[in-house]
Every structure is written in C-alpha cells, then in structure tokens.
Subunit: 342 residues, 2 copies
C-alpha cells in the first residue's frame, strides 16, 4: 500500500485502482462476525435483522455537495447522510451500506483519504456497516450510497398519504441552508453559525424510533432533503391537498437576528426556513388527535419538532399558503437548475 502520509499530493492517476481500493478497505472495514464474504469481495452477505427491510439509494455530484467551507471529509459525510435520513423518515434503522464513487484522476491522494475518512465517520456515527462499493473515474465526480435497513413498522409511512386536516409536524432546525440558497454562498459564508450548521447535517436516529412506534397513526412522512417548502409541496401535491403554514419551524435564533432589520422580518424568517435543503428533518402528516401522543414520544426521545400548519382540502393541490397568500416553491432541479414548482 502507498505510504499515504508521505504521498498526499500524489494524484490518483499515479496510484491506480487496486491500491486505492486497498486504502478504502483499510479505512472502512468494520466487518461483522456473522458475515462470510469479507470486505473487498464481489458482494457482502448479511442476515435480515428485522421483520421488514427497507432499501434506499441517494446520489450526488460532488460539485453540488462541496459548499466552499466543506472539506472533502465533510463532503464524504454529506454524500452518505441523505440516504441514512431516508431510512429515518420511514421508521427504519439503516444497517449496511454500499458506497460507490466516481473520482477525478487529478484528485490528490490526500483529498481521497479525507473523503474516505468522512464516509467512515458518518457510517460509524450512525452504526452502519460498510458493505462495499465500486470505484470509478469521472471528470464530474460523484458519490452514490445505497443502504439496507430494517424496521418494526408493518407499514412504514408513505410520502403521499396526507389527509385533510392533518397537522404538519416538522422535526429538525431550519434557516441556515435557506440563507445559502436565498442570499447566496458568499453572503452565507460571512455567518459562522450558517457555516457550522451546514457543514455536516446530522439527522436524529431517534426520529426513526418514534415513527416506527407510531406508524399506524402517521398518514405521511418525508425527510427534508431539497428544502422544507419543496417537501411540503410534494407531500401535498401527491395527496391531492394544499398546505397552510401558520408559523415557522424551529430555526436558529441567529436567523431572527439576521432578519431583524429587513423590510418584513417575519417573511424573511419564514422564507429562509422554507428554502434550503439537506436539513434532514422529517415532515409528518398527523391527525390532530394523535399529535399529543406522538409529540410526547418526541419529547421523551429528545427529538426537536414544531407543529407548523395543516394539510387542507381546497386551493390547488401542492400550493402552500402563508398569511392567506401563496408562497412560491423554489427548488433545485437537476436538469433545469433553480426552478419554481407547482
């Protein structure tokens, strides 16, 4: 194996696939005792760890993950955590992950090792086994994670199942990524709290436990990966409903300060909470009569949340209303760039 520390400036092109795979396996090797196929084999074998299994996949171009203040280590974390968040929103505990990479031959070995360390850190933090993956070269680097988890929920809550009158319960904290998307990366980089809050998104595994325990009552559930308004918009549209927002979700107190001197401070706050992405909270559609029971479990497990509004029958499906007016839903479209959704 390459003596990495002595060769951190070396380019991947000068090292070659076999040795890079060895480095990956050195860093990501938490094999489980019950498995027979070792890391580096063509596949991994594992035992089902729950009555029902959940499978999800998420991929990113690194150019979209690499906020200027994110190191390669942070990008490795961010490239895997979205797939983990999908599991939490379905009441699943992620168990084993495949992570494939497309990297540039001009990447330095030092950056490569940092990236792998970031992947190891997120897998270790969430106790997910690294199962393997595939290494490719790409002039437009990317990461793809696929994770199998398990759940005790007979029917994990769907994305599209909200019913009229369901309360919109939102977990997680918002506002930082909204500043990035509305005010721009440069402006955002001036605020230490924004930088800190967006470096490494940390969804809460406890959310999954609360969801699995109450799946019968949860009409719909979706994690916030592309912005809160886009998430609520999709859930409403897919359920043939619209949504009324009554108050902002939990957000960073620095956001109130940021908005204090703006023309319409309340609008400034709500817009930045609704825009953004990668907050990885969960939006639940919950009948009013179950809100108390479910949120009492959230309190018990330390899951932060707020009831911010209601899914309503009336208005155009997918529309979001605030103070009686429609709020525009702007989201990132992989093929069209920033686009408004309706």
């Amino acid at each position: 194996m390459v003596a990495e520390l002595a060769a951190r400036d070396k380019k991947l092109a000068g090292i070659g696939e076999d040795e890079l795979v060895e480095i990956i396996l050195k860093y990501l090797d938490p094999s489980k005792p019950y498995e027979h196929l070792p890391p580096g084999d063509d596949a991994r074998d594992f035992l089902p760890r729950g009555p029902k299994q959940v499978f999800s996949s998420d991929a990113y171009s690194f150019s979209s993950l690499k906020l200027p203040w994110r190191t390669w280590r942070d990008a490795g974390w961010a490239g895997v955590v979205g797939c983990i968040s999908d599991h939490f929103s379905k009441g699943s505990i992620p168990d084993i992950a495949m992570v494939s990479l497309g990297l540039s031959p001009s990447m330095s070995l030092g950056d490569f090792v940092e990236l792998i360390e970031g992947i190891r850190e997120v897998l270790t933090y969430y106790r997910v086994v690294y199962g393997g993956g595939d290494l490719n070269s790409s002039s437009d680097p990317w990461i793809s994670a696929s994770i199998v988890g398990f759940t005790t929920a007979k029917k994990p809550p769907r994305r599209y199942g909200a019913r009229p009158g369901d309360k919109i319960v939102v977990t997680g904290k918002y506002g930082a990524m909204g500043i990035v998307s509305i005010d721009g990366v440069e402006e955002a980089s001036r605020y230490k709290w924004v930088v800190e809050a967006t470096r490494r998104p940390k969804p809460q595994v406890e959310t999954s436990i609360v969801i699995a325990a109450h799946y019968r009552w949860i009409d719909a559930s979706m994690d916030v990966s592309d912005g809160l308004s886009y998430t609520i918009h999709l859930m409403a549209k897919g359920s043939g409903l619209s949504a009324r927002i009554d108050s902002p979700p939990l957000h960073y107190e620095e956001l109130d300060e940021f908005c204090r001197d703006k023309k319409d401070p309340k609008r400034c706050v709500i817009e930045r909470c609704l825009a953004g992405g990668e907050e990885y909270g969960v939006v639940l559609a919950l009948p009013e009569k179950y809100v108390g029971e479910v949120t009492s479990y959230m309190d018990m497990y330390g899951v932060s949340y707020k009831v911010i509004g209601e899914f309503i029958d009336g208005g155009e499906p997918g529309k979001i209303y605030w103070r009686g007016r429609e709020i525009s839903v702007v989201g990132w479209d992989q093929f069209r760039g920033w686009s408004s959704h309706s």
Copy 2:
C-alpha cells in the same frame, strides 16, 4: 407527463427532474403485493426472501459502456447486468435493485427513454424488482446499480480461497471482448459475431443455483467482469498462489477462424480468451475430487463450462503460466488506463 414520442429530440434540460422521474416510474414499476412503500417514495420496503442475504453494487461511466454498436438500450442493460452477475458468482438470486443515474442535460428524451427501457429489460429478464434510485445531472454520465438478493448457501464462496491443486473451472464463452480489447474497437466492429456477442452480456442464473447447492466444496468463486486473466490473477494473488492454464476456455468458434492465419494461432486464441471483460462467466476454484459432481450439475442445468487449469503452489503469487511461460495480465485501471497487473 411529456408526450415522449412527440418529443424524443427534446433535451433533458428542457424537461426537468420531476417529469423525468415520472417517466422512469412509468417504465419501471413492477411493484410487489407485499410492499407498502410505492415506487417513487424515499425508500422501498421488502421482506427477506431467504435465510441469508447478499448485497452488491457496481457502477460505470457510460463512456466505458458505450461500445459504438451499443444503443442506449444496450448500455442500460450492460450497466445493470454486472451487479446481477456478482450475485450469481456468490450463489445468490438477485431480488431488488436500486439504479441511480447521472445524465447529461444535453441528452435527448428519446435516448433517455431507450436507456430506461434497457434497464427495464435486464431487470425483467432476470426477474429483479426495480426498487428505485436517484437521478442526477452529470457532464460525464454514469450509472450505479445496487442489488439485494438471497441465497440458501450458509457460506457463499469467497473470491480468495483457492487452495493448491484446485482446478480452475470456467463457465461462459470467451474471445469476443478479447478482440475488442486486443485488436481494437474498429477492427472488432468488422466482425458481426463480435458485435452480437458483446452487445448484451447474458450471465446464466443457473450458475447461481449450482454454486448455492455446492458451496461447501467451492473454495473460491468470482465473476469475470474485467477479463478472464485479471480474474484468475486476482483469485490466485489473494489466495497466495499462482495459476497454470492448460487449455483455453469455451470460446466462439469464429475466434479459431480469426486466429487461423496468425503466426501463433494457439497463442492468438488464448490471449483473446484471457483478455476482454464483461463476459460474466464465473471462475471456480474446485478440489479435483468434486469437479465431477459439480460439473454434472452444470450439465443438468445447461451451464456451459470448461476446466482450463489449476491453482498451484509455487511461482510468484498472482502469476499465470501457459506452456511453461508467464502470461502478462493486462487489465483496465480506472485511474491509470490499460495497465499490467502483477
């Protein structure tokens, strides 16, 4: 949804992610009755279908998959079949797949639909459920497939477990991709049999059944994705052995014809059988006393194979010998290009 047939020249950039996902779901929607999370949700749920599960992942840059005679439909097939082949080599039946894509905004809708149809065809052919995936934009398009399968084998055979004296049993047919890699794409394109044989690799599911039924006797197993010599080289090296080749594997009879007028026809044949890639046969390391029993099952299941040599103790680990001389192992390295392995 876009009227695809009327808009096949339209670019993905003009269509947008949401509609493209709708098209994917329209084409790839074989939901199973026992599943609760529908296609298009953030994850899929499924029941374990065997005592032991197998998980594998494979990714490609389309630039490496798109032989000039491969349509996008063929490329979709080729981008998923490698992951299926991994399962077969471990005695696993692939069950549910996640397929993520990175595509260029300048790709036409017609090509996009062809690609999705190719993915559908390979999943349908092998009875694998489409579980979902993620859609991204990329200037260097790629495909990543992750598949969960199940096996009855308590210990699926590893890559690295060959023992001295083990026979090298090779399934599948060779020689066509060897012409592509040794004689070049242009020369290869002149031979109809080469074009036909390399368009859509078709590994045999029956191989998996034979392997699962005899896993106790199989010391090692690996599928041929990057060339036969590279596969044997890795298996030998990882087992601390070298390999002696006595005769070529099953190959296209047109290859004998192709080599007839060459200076050393036998060397011409063996070199083209050993080079190549994507043949997706399986190389087994099998103690001599079990060869008869295992191959009789191959005969029964219609799996074509040949015993081509032996793993030996002596020589340098990983080396391959033919007629008493070392054969050079040339394989494609993602970061260094064509490279010799040792």
